[in-house]
Chain length 153, copies 2
DNA sequence: ATTGAAATCACTCATGG
DNA sequence: CCATGAGTGATTTCAAT
């Protein structure tokens, strides 16, 4: 149905590193005529390999210097708390990611805040005030060792 | 020196949602002449607000259906293990993120793999074989509730 | 900071091999 | 899948207000 050849992988890799590369330049890099390049781009988007393009901002520069991970445990007695929690957390702009996990807790939340003072407010007013939240553990990030959004191909 | 006005914020928001929007279209949306738009774009990049642009791929589609978070504890007796660990982990393509955290463990690693079989190999051959790694705890993701790379402005 | 005009560049779409 | 050319639209640069 939809398998990727070597050239497709090259294209996706280049686009992950520079999402604004022009069709002509990209075609030249992978050794394809520009018109064939356009075809592949359209196909890769239509088949769902490429979900979109976005600018990558510097969190520090826009005043979001604090990165925090929070482990959240829910009260298991009422199962629809899971839905409520999920839908509430999706609306919070400070929450960049939220994943339901298997293991010692229920959700892992990744959030960016201005500083610890704002985080304290966020934790008590937002996270802890959601229904069914039993317990949270916070892990402030000391150093971001690696953070690319580049998937291996 | 470098503060953001309302229009800058609009621009950054639009670019986070569509990194391939044309200068003309973006100018129209925020109500600016195209040439002024170009100026702002250049300034926002030069000042470091915009670090770059990238394509967002679908992990499932390219065969990376398993998302795992791993808590890593290091042996604290030899401090340069931290550097060794960090530099080794930066080279692993499966590792999308790695953060040094404050709290009950030392590093939080986010990795995407094909499946559990590949993860088992990755855990034993890569993570556990790094010098100084004392203990790891793995949390496979059951459901990705939220995962945008969009920073609030 | 905006406007306008001109030159360059890139993309698309048609044809074809 | 590749090549070519015409037509369209975008970007950049320059000037001027």
């Amino acid at each position: 149905m939809a398998s990727l050849d070597r050239i497709d992988r090259r294209i996706l890799m280049e686009l992950q590193q520079d999402g604004r590369i022009t069709n002509a330049e990209l075609a030249q890099r992978v050794g394809l005529p520009p018109t064939s390049m356009s075809d592949r781009m359209r196909r890769l988007q239509k088949q769902g390999y490429i979900k979109g393009f976005k600018a990558v901002l510097d969190p520090e520069q826009i005043g979001l210097g604090l990165l925090v991970f929070i482990e959240v445990s829910l009260d298991k007695t009422t199962p629809d708390n899971f839905q409520k929690f999920a839908s509430a957390v999706r609306k919070q702009p400070e929450v960049l990611e939220c994943h339901m996990v298997a293991g010692g807790f229920d959700y892992l939340v990744k959030a960016r805040l201005h500083d610890m003072a704002r985080y304290r407010v966020f934790l008590s007013e937002v996270l802890l005030s959601l229904p069914g939240v039993k317990e949270t553990r916070s892990y402030p990030v000391i150093e971001e060792v690696k953070d690319e959004g580049i998937l291996p191909l």
